[in-house]
Point group: C2
Chain length 204, copies 2
Amino acid sequence: MGRPRTPLLDRARITTTALELVDEQGEFSVPQIARRLGVQTGSVYHHVDGRDGIVELMRERICEAIDSATLDAGPWDAAVSAWAHSYRAAFAAHPRVIPLLMTSPVRAPKVLEQYERAVGLLLTAGFAVADVMPLITGLENLVLGSALDLAAPETMWELREETPTPQLARALAAVGAGRADAAFDAALEGLIGHGRTLLARTTP
Amino acid sequence: MGRPRTPLLDRARITTTALELVDEQGEFSVPQIARRLGVQTGSVYHHVDGRDGIVELMRERICEAIDSATLDAGPWDAAVSAWAHSYRAAFAAHPRVIPLLMTSPVRAPKVLEQYERAVGLLLTAGFAVADVMPLITGLENLVLGSALDLAAPETMWELREETPTPQLARALAAVGAGRADAAFDAALEGLIGHGRTLLARTTP
């Protein structure tokens, strides 16, 4: 289980290299990291807790870019909205890492602490404890789906004469640029509105 | 630009192989498809419109599994909810293809037709034309984020003694199994609620 014995610099370089690989090819391997850094594969394993440890280092790196101070500034709806925007921006910088992180358990201490603060925010606001994780996870699904959408091409629908789609054409013309932001804001407003409804039921 | 000149069977085999590769490794290449099928790379190109054509074949294949008849039945909110559930299930079977499809323009005729129907549903329901794409895209962000979440491990947060997160522990215990579904339903209800609000403003 080799705990890291070396300076942070080395783990940082391994993390940076793993992220570069995932950005380029959607995946990484420890031998690939070693090759890029010009070291033996075994040396990489001296610095990290295996492949899973590298995944957690990437998670920690990306989550450092989320402004978690948003979670302390009050009322819950403004805080959640600010957190969601910052969360989306952090992952939009590395869209291809999203599937990797979403399908691997969260172990990074700093990331667990950020969840603790998000849960605390909603409990303090008066949400029923059973409503908290569905709201946070629903928000994350939206945030990460939207982060992927930010990496989409400007023209996402290529309409074709041989497939007439006049209503789609009208709807696309009506929204124009800022399509991804308008979608995120609409869905986020919906989720926060749902939260308000739940809260009104919980605290009569 | 070689238009397909061969029976559907061959394009179907290319699509199946590309999907297998993406399911396994998050990516595919035309030479890899050729190797798996035991043919020359050039032969693959005879059947499809290049790499982008294969991406569109994968999109078409996955979207065939969406029950688009949901878009024709009943009030818009029930229709959107049924479509979203079917859409999520189709992509949950191939989570690793999601980033690839979300970052490549939609050209597949059958998929464009499905968008046309979704837009038509919302226009008929009375939505302002500028509200339609943000709602559909917000729904897709949620659907695809949630499809990735369905591929997450049962225990997504591995709490650690050395990082006390008592509120997170309580919130996780309160939701239990069905976490991903509860999150999707909460966010979907929020989005549909937002739609109702928009509609009430549009049709006074």
